[in-house]
């Protein structure tokens, strides 16, 4: 039923560019949607768009990440809409730029909610997200954070869903793995901001819990690219591993590591899934946890086609967040309820296990996802060990 609503050229485009696994994925989704569409036909699939919000730092110092996240959202929406939308209704995200500032985020939040009546808002970065969280609680608007991993986000609001595990979860897995391969001492190089410092604290806790010892900690400021003095200082105490928590600048770091050839192994989290680092010979041998982002190659190709850039980590995460929320909205519609924040909230918990591009389980407000240990070799990530969800 729903398929017939789709303009044929969308179908043509998707089939032409997607090879097998994606087609299966997309067709699977479409089939699912079609099924739900049937169920929800009484709901008048009139094709009026479902409007959601996206509040991201599109300018300012955090914009480099914000723009990647926006690409992810746009890609997710285009995929959903290409497959017929949600129960026949296309998704539409209204974007607001908060410049990474909490106050602008609050204005944008109120604007989207009170003027546009959106029930759900995608957000980014812990500052703005934490600033919006009390409003989300008060107004029962679902806030979806697909990028920030600060631990405090886990309990900030019953309406705040984190579609990515908090950093603590990843780091616990990393520490466990490091202990299992006999790494005893570690240095930490972290960005002196919210994500970096909470990552540092998580790592200290987790690594000490498995019997490791932290022997150096060096902060760098956001946007700093000269890591040499810090690296030299860390190298002088000869740790087994160096835990790195940076959100940008992995390219220069890889350069400088390559030039220095230190004895320690570089370890980190999903942040390492950054093409700038991957394609740098300096990143050879780096170990990192990976919130599973096995985007089917065809999806990645479609992404590349759409934006002319590789699918970055953030792109995948935010596209996945769109897929998860589309499912939840679909469920709300299928129950014949109006699309409100409260209903979406309930739907997320009633679905709990989302078998989308990157499967996620919501027992709490923060997704549990499979976390893998990967190693970078010759410009590719190689799976070292899997830690299934749980």
């Amino acid at each position: 039923m729903t398929l017939s609503h789709m303009p044929p050229r969308y179908l043509a485009a998707t089939s032409a560019h997607f090879d097998d696994p994606t087609r299966r994925l997309v067709l699977g989704m479409v089939a699912g949607l079609a099924g739900l569409g049937l169920a929800g036909r009484a709901m008048a699939a009139d094709g009026t768009p479902i409007r959601l919000g996206g509040i991201l730092p599109l300018t300012g110092p955090d914009a480099s990440v914000g723009i990647q996240q926006q690409r992810g959202l746009r890609f997710g929406v285009s995929q959903i809409n290409a497959a017929g939308g949600v129960a026949g209704r296309p998704l539409d995200i209204l974007y607001e730029d908060d410049e990474g500032r909490p106050d602008q985020a609050v204005i944008s939040f109120n604007k989207l909610v009170s003027l546009q009546g959106v029930p759900l808002i995608f957000s980014a970065f812990s500052g703005p997200t934490l600033a919006m969280a009390p409003l989300a609680t008060r107004k029962k608007i679902v806030l979806v954070n697909g990028g920030a991993q600060a631990d405090r986000l886990a309990k900030a609001s019953p309406y705040l869903f984190n579609t990515i595990p908090v950093a603590g979860d990843e780091i616990a897995v990393l520490a466990k793995y490091l202990a299992s391969v006999g790494k005893k001492t570690a240095g930490i190089l972290y960005e002196d901001d919210a994500g970096g410092t909470s990552g540092r604290d998580d790592f200290v806790r987790a690594f000490q819990k498995v019997g490791g010892k932290i022997i150096a900690r060096e902060p760098v400021s956001f946007g700093q690219t000269d890591y040499r003095p810090s690296l030299l200082k860390i190298a002088s105490v000869k740790p087994d591993v160096l835990f790195v928590m940076l959100s940008d600048g992995l390219g220069p770091l890889a350069d400088q590591i390559h030039q220095m050839k230190p004895a320690f192994t570089i370890v980190g989290t999903s942040f390492f899934n950054d093409p700038a680092a991957l394609h740098n010979p300096g990143s050879d041998g780096w170990l990192h946890t990976q919130v599973q982002i096995k985007a089917p190659p065809a999806v990645a190709t479609a992404f590349q086609k759409m934006f002319n850039v590789e699918m970055e980590f953030w792109g995948a995460q935010y596209a996945n967040a769109v897929f998860i929320m589309a499912k939840a909205i679909e469920k709300v519609l299928s129950q014949g309820k109006p699309i409100t924040g409260e209903n979406i909230h309930d739907a997320i918990f009633s679905i709990q296990t989302f078998d989308v591009m990157l499967p996620a389980i919501f027992r709490t407000n923060t997704a549990v996802m499979e976390i893998d240990i990967m190693q970078i070799k010759d410009g590719h990530h190689h799976l070292v060990q899997e830690f299934k969800a749980d």
Partner: protein, 287 residues
């Protein structure tokens, strides 16, 4: 409605802050790019006091005002010793130092991840827990601040400050103490910034170092430039326009990839254009 409220609340907070900046930059002519740091100290003081249940909102706001008064005097003092451009560097440095302190003094500020869950304000037991109540509170304080600014500008003190900007030597020759006048102006500007910070903290219930960084100081400067120096009308119009600007600019349909930075660049264009073609701003006097 809430959208309009949140705009009005922030705009009125920035009016108070704009008055503070206008007093220093526009009236006395001290180039300061560290007013956001003082704003931040006010916000953190109130945030810390309320979060740790040390005192009520009103005493906390008073404390913030006092702390900011003292600090602003201290950071403005170099302007007495070092002239013009040296002070620009001092001011930049103070702003960067303040950001480093907000980010790293975890025990007080919550560090880089900020201070979340600041309780809402209460006025002697009356909770200020809705947008409307907050708007009434901030608007009242902003009106008070405007009234104070007007009183000052029409008083001999205001005239003394204006004279100070034009010629410190002549002020001294007229038998006035330059040092004392500057300290008093800085103190007053500090009180304004501290109160604005306190209101900001309770309204957003979340503060973090990014709100009080160099960009924020530049934004404050933009408000003064846009509104115009030294007039009350300018100090009100500037913040109202600048706070609305991101919202207005988002109406322009630019390709998403550039829209972002382009919008930010427009602040710069505004600064340059106003200085070239309208140094008196929308409704002020020449800066």
């Amino acid at each position: 409605m809430d959208y309009l409220f949140s705009y009005l609340i922030l705009a009125s907070i920035f009016v108070i802050l704009g008055l503070s900046t206008n007093l220093l930059v526009g009236v006395v002519g001290i180039f300061s790019v560290s007013q956001a740091a003082i704003f931040g100290v006010g916000a953190y003081t109130v945030g810390y006091a309320l979060s740790n249940d040390i005192m009520g909102f009103v005493p906390a706001l008073a404390l913030a005002a006092v702390v900011c008064l003292v600090l602003n005097v201290l950071i403005t003092l170099p302007s007495l010793r070092v002239s013009g451009d040296y002070f620009v560097v001092t001011s930049f440095g103070i702003q960067l130092l303040a950001t480093a302190a907000f980010t790293n003094w975890d025990a007080i500020t919550g560090g880089a991840s900020g201070m979340a869950g600041i309780p809402t304000a209460d006025l002697f037991g009356l909770p200020i827990d809705t947008s409307l109540k907050t708007l009434i509170l901030t608007a009242c304080v902003a009106c008070l601040a405007c009234f104070a600014f007007r009183l000052v500008m029409r008083s001999p003190f205001g005239r003394l400050l204006m004279a100070l900007r034009e010629d410190e030597l002549a002020v001294a020759a007229a038998g006035r103490q330059v040092l004392r006048a500057k300290v008093e102006a800085a103190a007053l500007a500090g009180v304004f910034a501290g109160v604005a910070g306190g209101l900001y903290a309770v309204y957003l219930s979340f503060i973090d170092p990014s709100t009080f960084d160099l960009d924020a100081s530049v934004l404050l400067l933009t408000m003064v430039v846009l509104g115009g120096a030294r007039t009350l009308a300018g100090s009100i119009v500037g913040p109202f326009v600048v706070v609305a600007l991101p919202q207005l600019l988002s109406l322009i349909d630019l390709p998403t990839a550039i829209a972002a930075s382009a919008r930010q660049g427009i602040y710069g264009v505004l600064l340059v254009a106003f200085m070239l073609f309208r140094p008196q701003g929308l409704m002020g006097r020449k800066i």
